[in-house]
Symmetry: C2
Subunit: 138 residues, 2 copies
DNA sequence: ATAATTAACATGTAAATGCATCTAAAATGA
DNA sequence: TCATTTTAGATGCATTTACATGTTAATTAT
C-alpha cells in the first residue's frame, strides 16, 4: 500500500525528470535550427493518421488551448508542413494532413530528440530518479 | 539490460503522465482564481530557503529563461509575494525572499495542487502508466 | 592599478499565448 | 419546420515569452 507522501515524491521525480529532458531536447532542437517540441508532437500525430485529423481532436489529445492551436496550425500550414482541407460532411470543420515536407522535418527532429531521450532516460536511471515511482508498487 | 525502445516508451509514458496531471492541476488553480504552477514553484523554493535566494540560482534550478524569470520576479514582487533586497557583498545582484502573503498563497495553492497529485498519480498507477518505467529495470 | 572579460540582472521588441468573442454550421427540440 | 442551443474554428486584444542587447558590478589578466 503506498501512502500519500509516496505519490507526492513520485510526482516530484516525474516532473523534474521530464522537465529536464524536455528542456535539454528543446534547446538542442532550437540550436540546430529546428522548431520546438510541440511542433514535433503535431507532426507525429499527423504522421500516424493516414486519413488526417480534425483540429479539435488533435487539440484535445495534445492538451492545447483552442485558440493557440488554431494559430499553431496556421503557422505550420504556412510553413508547408501540413494542409487544411474542408472536412467532408461537416461544413464547419477542417481536416489536417501532414505533407512530405512535414514528414521530412519530423524525421530530422527525431534524430535529435531520440538522442536526448536515450541519454536523458539513461541518466535518470543512473541517478535513481525513478526510485520514487518504483516505490509506489510495494 | 533494457534496450533503446524501452527508454522511448518510458519517456512517452513519463511525458504523457506529467502533462496530463500538470494540465489538470493548472486548470483547477486558474479556475479557482490562483496563479499558474510556475508561480507555485518559485514560492516553494523560496519558502524552503530561509536566507533567501539569488535570482540566478533560482532561475537555473527551475530552468527558467533569464529574461522571463526577471519579469516573473518583478510581477511577483508587485503582487507582494516576494521581496528583492540588494545582495550583501555583490552590487550586481539581488536576494529574493518570500513574504507572509507569499506563504499564504502557496499554502492555498498547495491544497488544490496536492489533490491533483494524489488523484493523478493514483490514476496513472491504476492505468498502468508506469509500466514502461518499471520495465527499464529488468 | 587598470584594461579586458565575465557575470547578474533589466529592458526593448517581436512573436506566442490565452481569454473573450465572433462567425458559420450542426444538432436539438418545440 | 423554424427557433434555440451547441460545436468547430478563427480573430481581436492584453499579457507573457524569449531573443538580443544594455547597464552596472565583479573577476581576471596584463
Amino acid at each position: 500500500m503506498s501512502g500519500f507522501e509516496e505519490r507526492e515524491a513520485a510526482w516530484i521525480a516525474l516532473n523534474q525528470t521530464r522537465t529536464r529532458l524536455f528542456s535539454r531536447a528543446e534547446r538542442a532542437l532550437v540550436a540546430a535550427g529546428f522548431p520546438r517540441l510541440h511542433w514535433y508532437d503535431v507532426l507525429w500525430e499527423l504522421e500516424r493518421a493516414p486519413d488526417g485529423l480534425r483540429p479539435k481532436q488533435l487539440e484535445q489529445q495534445l492538451l492545447f488551448d483552442q485558440s493557440s492551436f488554431s494559430r499553431q496550425v496556421a503557422r505550420m500550414a504556412e510553413d508547408g508542413l501540413l494542409t487544411r482541407h474542408a472536412a467532408a460532411g461537416d461544413g464547419r470543420g477542417k481536416v489536417l494532413r501532414i505533407t512530405d515536407e512535414g514528414r521530412t522535418l519530423r524525421r530530422q527532429m527525431w534524430d535529435i530528440y531520440r538522442k536526448h531521450i536515450d541519454e536523458g532516460i539513461a541518466e535518470a536511471q543512473k541517478l535513481g530518479a525513478f526510485a520514487p515511482i518504483l516505490n509506489l508498487n510495494d
